[in-house]
């Protein structure tokens, strides 16, 4: 599992450099072919210039932490009454806040770095710098900053704290998603200001973050 993810992450990260996507060309620029990513590889598996084994290993340290988190999330979710498939906003909110409470209690000692491990953090920052330093970097950043006019530090975000209700959910461009380790449906990457947030979508809780993740 870990090895598979390492390969996927490596491939995906490599794709970032070659895919200057989301532009208006007729066809996407082809990434350089490698043995791990031949020219015929489908877009979802394409690779862009492989990570070093050390970087791939550093990112892989996140996987166990992610798995532990998702296991806990699933366990707590099962303990809650099922949200009706045709719910009212009040029911959705009530369910979410109950989930939030239980997640926060279960991770009472959570701190930054528990999921974005100290090994993975510098690699993620470097990968993001590569994405935003590319030909479409300026446009991508503008797209993220759309409806993201906040100073994350001033918001005093905390790991295991509720994602602020008044802060919009930001765009996360596909180039960024391709770069970062893949997540299950329970988690999402978001940006608040220039912080990268790992958001528990159901509990609406910040599972972890990396401050100053976006290059200036």
């Amino acid at each position: 599992m870990s090895a598979t993810r390492s390969v996927v992450v490596s491939l995906v990260a490599a794709a970032v450099l070659a895919l200057g996507a989301c532009t208006r060309g007729d066809s996407p620029p082809a990434p350089p072919a490698t043995s791990a990513s031949p020219a015929s590889a489908p877009a979802t598996e394409r690779v862009v210039g492989p990570l070093t084994p050390a970087d791939a290993q550093a990112l892989a340290t996140m996987n166990d932490r992610l798995k532990e988190y998702v296991d806990l999330h699933t366990k707590i979710e099962r303990s809650l009454p099922t949200l009706p498939k045709e719910a009212t906003p009040v029911q959705i909110d009530k369910n979410q806040r109950a989930f939030e409470k239980l997640m926060r209690e279960a991770r009472a000692t959570a701190k930054p770095g528990d999921i974005f491990t100290p090994e993975a953090r510098p690699v993620i920052k470097r990968l993001l710098a590569a994405v935003f330093g590319g030909p479409d970097g300026k446009q991508l950043k503008a797209s993220i900053m759309d409806e993201n006019p906040v100073d994350a530090a001033a918001l005093k975000l905390t790991v295991n704290g509720r994602y602020p209700d008044t802060v919009p959910l930001t765009t996360v461009p596909p180039q960024v998603l391709q770069t970062l380790p893949k997540l299950t449906e329970d988690l999402e990457y978001r940006f608040v200001g220039d912080w990268l947030i790992l958001l528990d979508t159901h509990a609406h809780v910040i599972a972890d973050f990396i401050d100053n993740a976006l290059p200036k």
Binding site: G25, A87, D93
Partner: protein
């Protein structure tokens, strides 16, 4: 001095845009032709409003709670008075900013209350600003799913997709559903456009690489998207009609890149929604602005399934 400078620039702009308007569009507001910076429109093609046809609306990037959203909603209600559509498909970004119970009310339930009260059903897809929990919201009719299909009549099927975090599982599901569908009209709805002239976002080429072959192979006729905050009808691509209808509340004035070469008709100077009618093998469409003006119209024919 600064104000005077600004006034001169504004006057110059008005002068320019007033002079180059399209004669057929008839779209005016005071002395300013709103269509001035758009590509020329053909003569208006009215919606036939036939008995027994399937009538629907398309709305996207709308949930701001702003006055502009409410004003466009009023136009949707006005149209419903004479064109009884019973379905609205939402191309995502249904709620901007906070998504608490009061936001569902202010940004969705109140502006569209007359339509909801009249029994119009809204079917949502999620955009990048939407919380995933919206999938359980009764009035979005998603049945708890991030992606799903529905068929308002045996001949028509909508494929509602999730394009913010698309997964291989969804693509597999989509192919199975497309293959199994016997409907003549296959319409895909999702947030991120495969083709768009948006200067802010533009075409999502990664998604296009995966989805377009499926759409071509399984005879999808129409694709409805949002994300870029304007209305755009894209020139048919591989026989498929693409519309960007991200103009339901948010608006990015002047954001259509005229040099993209893919625009059949663009409107980026005011909010707009789309109304459509499918009758037999034809789909009529009108794009209607916040001022109630028809800024685009036409008719397209479904793709034929060849043995």
């Amino acid at each position: 001095m600064r104000t005077r400078h600004l006034s001169l620039i504004v006057l110059l702009f008005l002068f320019i845009v007033t002079g180059v308007g399209d004669r057929n569009s008839g779209i005016t507001a005071g002395t300013i032709r709103l269509e001035a910076r758009q590509s020329p429109a053909g003569p208006l093609v009215p919606l036939p409003n036939r008995a027994g046809s399937f009538k629907f609306g398309v709305l996207g990037d709308f949930g701001t709670g702003s006055q502009a959203q409410y004003q466009l909603a009023e136009q949707m209600v006005t149209l419903h008075g004479r064109f009884k559509y019973d379905t609205v498909v939402l191309v995502g970004d249904n709620l901007y900013g906070s998504q608490r119970p009061q936001d569902f009310k202010k940004k969705f339930e109140l502006p569209y209350k007359p339509l909801l009260d009249a029994g119009v059903k809204f079917y949502a897809s999620l955009g990048n600003h939407d919380a995933r929990e919206q999938r359980s919201y009764k009035l979005f009719n998603m049945g708890g799913n991030l992606y799903y299909t529905f068929n308002p009549s045996p001949d028509i099927r909508f494929f509602m997709l999730e394009s913010s975090y698309p997964t291989p599982e969804q693509f597999d599901w989509l192919e199975k559903e497309l293959k199994a569908s016997g409907s003549n009209w296959k319409i895909a709805v999702f947030h991120h456009p495969l083709y768009s002239s948006g200067d802010r976002h533009g075409s999502d080429l990664l998604l296009r690489e995966v989805l377009e072959p499926l759409f071509v192979k399984y005879h999808v006729s129409v694709v409805l998207n949002g994300h870029d905050h304007f209305y755009e009808r894209v020139k048919p691509q591989k026989g498929i009609a693409y519309f960007v209808v991200g103009s339901g509340g948010q608006l990015r004035v002047g954001n259509i890149d005229r040099a993209s070469g893919i625009t059949a008709k663009g409107f980026d100077t005011d909010q707009a929604f789309m109304a459509a009618e499918i009758t037999g093998d034809e789909m009529y469409f009108n794009a209607i602005s916040r001022l109630g003006q028809t800024v685009d119209s036409g008719v397209l024919t479904r793709r034929k399934i060849t043995p």
